[in-house]
């Protein structure tokens, strides 16, 4: 059965907003800047006079054709996108398969009153459809179509009765309830804690180096620094030599923190989370406004993270993973925060409200094996001794001076890790927490567990321990890994048996 066969007749093809032309032009310019500059330097002027207009005309033609042939249609059961002049492509995305609807409005979008839309299905890394600019009305129409016609999967695609609420059919959407709103003070705290400054500086340096010749300018920067220093020195009198260095370091750190706060401020300004019966919606950003819609039943895993600074400030960050999760750059959200900064004491109430089926508050945490501390200390300290010994033997005996520092570090790590690490089995969920300076917790409903794997190394066997892997859909490789480590062998078996009996009872549904 071809679902679009009959509906193709009754929908009507539309183009995106003309702003797409401008956006594409900017994109083309950005990718052409380097070739043009290189050409301008190496080619004679007359050749350039011919090549540049031809190149420009070609890309403008390509952009216009692309815009002209790129059309979409809201048909009965699916969104249809067609594009291409010579090689044509028609893509049908059934409404019920659409996992997330993300929108983005950067200043340019806002100026023209349009919205960029990205639709994701469960298929993974690539978004199902990206519509870079649509008018506000068109977006509302699209959202309504997905809401009204996508609520129910066709009967043949549904596997038994699910656990999450679903099936509002073509009903009006219930009014959304505000679940969370970030406060200005919390934005500043978040900027402090996340320390995104280094990321920005790193990106900046990478950007500069990718455009080349930074090495050549380094002497210039050095001269400038020296000149500044010389100009300052007469006023300073005879300050000790270390003072400027210390001042520089302090200044650089302050700058990093300031950048981080600015970044978080722009990106997460006005962050709100709203919820209806079956979906969650976030809005964020000062200049670039981004929204994300996450159906509750698509949530695969909840993660609560708290780094050292957040712990001092008494806050946590709450994130979710959905199956269609993908890492993207270019203004689209790669992280799905439910609450970037949540006061720790509000966590239980928040989770109960946001995901009532997941029973967060009643969890009874159980520790890892009592022998884990001894095992970890033994292996880590031996490693430190070997490394320091070899280093001391190869270089200078002074390397031994590092020994107390490293031993202290290892002891602190092992103590911190063992006291915090643990697991919990709820009525419908399994949870795991770990980490030393950065603490992470993961919660997964049995109905979202994909594969369970019990792992044992020879060392695990010797210490009567085992590890249980809980695999979910869309788990990011960079995020907290649900590998319940250093569990008492009997506990691992209990987790395994519970998961075995409970996971098979539940149906997984997209």
């Amino acid at each position: 059965m071809n679902p679009s066969e009959q509906s193709i007749a009754n929908g009507e093809w539309r183009r995106l907003h003309p702003l797409n032309l401008l956006l594409d032009l900017f994109g083309a310019l950005r990718s052409l800047v380097i070739p043009i500059l290189v050409g301008a330097i190496s080619l004679p002027g007359r050749a350039l006079m011919v090549i540049l207009p031809v190149l420009g005309a070609l890309s403008v033609t390509a952009i216009v054709i692309r815009y002209w042939k790129r059309q979409y249609k809201l048909s009965e059961k699916d969104l249809v996108v067609r594009e291409g002049l010579l090689a044509r492509k028609v893509r049908n995305v059934p409404y019920w398969k659409i996992q997330n609807i993300d929108t983005v409005r950067n200043p340019l979008h806002r100026l023209f009153g349009v919205v960029g839309v990205r639709l994701e299905s469960a298929s993974g890394s690539e978004p199902e459809a990206v519509l870079e600019a649509l008018s506000v009305e068109a977006v509302e129409e699209l959202e309504a179509a997905i809401r009204e016609r996508g609520g129910e999967a066709p009967a043949e695609a549904r596997v038994g009765a699910g656990t999450a609420g679903e099936g509002n059919g073509a009903a009006e959407e219930a009014p959304a309830r505000l679940l969370y709103r970030i406060r200005g003070r919390e934005l500043v705290r978040l900027g402090l804690a996340w320390n995104r400054g280094l990321v920005i500086v790193g990106a900046l340096v990478a950007y500069l180096f990718s455009y080349g010749r930074v090495e050549e300018r380094l002497p210039m920067i050095e001269r400038w620094l020296r000149a500044t220093l010389d100009r300052v020195t007469p006023f300073a009198g005879d300050v000790p030599a270390w003072l400027p260095v210390v001042a520089g370091v302090v200044l650089a750190l302050a700058l990093l923190v300031g950048l981080s706060i600015l970044y978080v401020f722009f990106r997460y300004h006005g962050f709100t989370l709203e919820g209806t019966d079956d979906r969650l919606r976030t809005v964020q950003g000062l200049f670039t406004r981004a929204t994300a819609t996450i159906p509750r039943r698509r949530v695969q895993r909840v993660m609560v993270t708290q780094n050292l600074i957040l712990r001092w400030l008494g806050g946590v960050s709450v994130r979710v993973e959905t199956a269609g999760h993908s890492e993207h750059a270019g203004g689209w959200q790669s992280e799905r925060y439910l609450a970037p900064y949540l006061p720790q004491e509000r966590l239980d109430a928040f989770m109960t409200e946001v995901l009532p089926d997941w029973a967060w508050s009643g969890l009874e945490w159980r520790p890892v094996s009592t022998r884990a501390k001894r095992r970890l200390l033994r292996i880590r300290l031996s490693a430190v001794l070997v490394v320091i010994g070899v280093a001391g033997w190869l270089t200078t005996p002074w390397a031994l001076a590092l020994l107390p520092l490293l031993v202290g570090w290892v002891v602190a790590y092992v103590k911190g890790y063992v006291t915090y690490a643990g697991f919990a089995l709820g009525p419908d969920t399994v949870a795991y927490r770990s980490g030393w300076l950065k603490r992470e917790q993961s919660l997964v409903a049995f109905s979202r567990v994909q594969v369970v794997a019990l792992e044992e190394s020879p060392f695990d066997r010797r210490w009567k321990m085992a590890n249980v892997n809980v695999d979910t859909a869309g788990a990011s490789m960079a995020a907290h890994w649900m590998r319940l480590r250093h569990l008492e062998r009997s506990d691992a078996e209990e987790v395994w048996r519970t998961l075995d009996s409970r996971v098979r009872d539940t149906d997984f549904k997209w």
């Binding site: 567990v449 994909q450 369970v452 794997a453 792992e455 044992e456 190394s457 859909a473 998961l499 098979r504």
Partner: protein
């Protein structure tokens, strides 16, 4: 087909017993190890000869070095012959009404559990060597990430499709 099935082959694929795979799997593994070690050995030997041609050692030292390299590859050959037997003893699969369980590993052991309802799609594959030994592999794909692919190799050729049909709730005629 049931008449000539060896005794360790289950009558039904979903009898909730833990089964070993076809003993031919050992031979298959050994052949694979043999081929791998030979390729590696040839490369290693060429490298060693080039290296010895370049350095100015005494011929006794060169001979000792060569013997060392040869000894290393001999050990690899022997290991490649022994480990399949050990691995075979530790390799079990079980298919009950709802889940597929695979147990493997000699020193690093892993038990993988895949509920039937989580299976996205399955492959039954058979390489040229497997065809020679009348075994095939069942590959189960889930929506998971780190354990998205679970493989049971060394299944007798007739069994893998039977298991697949059971996992996907197919009636036999649908799969033909």
């Amino acid at each position: 087909m049931a008449g000539k099935d060896p005794p360790w082959l289950p009558g039904r694929p979903d009898d909730a017993e833990e089964h070993p795979v076809d003993p031919q799997w050992i031979t298959l593994r050994r052949l694979g190890n043999l081929i791998r070690t030979t390729i590696l050995g040839l490369m290693g030997l060429t490298g060693t000869l080039i290296f010895l041609g370049l350095v100015g050692w005494s011929s006794a030292a060169k001979l000792t070095f060569l013997a060392g390299v040869a000894g290393f590859f001999c050990a690899l050959y022997i290991l490649g012959m022994i480990t399949p037997v050990l691995a075979y003893r530790r390799y079990r699969w079980r298919l009950d009404g709802e889940t597929l369980l695979v147990r493997r590993g000699i020193w690093w052991r892993i038990e993988t559990l895949v509920p039937k309802s989580r299976i996205q799609h399955t492959d039954v594959t058979q390489g040229p060597l497997e065809r020679l030994f009348h075994t095939s592999s069942l590959v189960v794909h889930t929506a998971g990430t780190r354990f998205a692919i679970v493989e049971v190799d060394g299944l007798p050729t007739g069994l893998a499709p039977k298991m697949r049909d059971h996992l996907l709730d197919l009636r036999p005629d649908e799969s033909l």
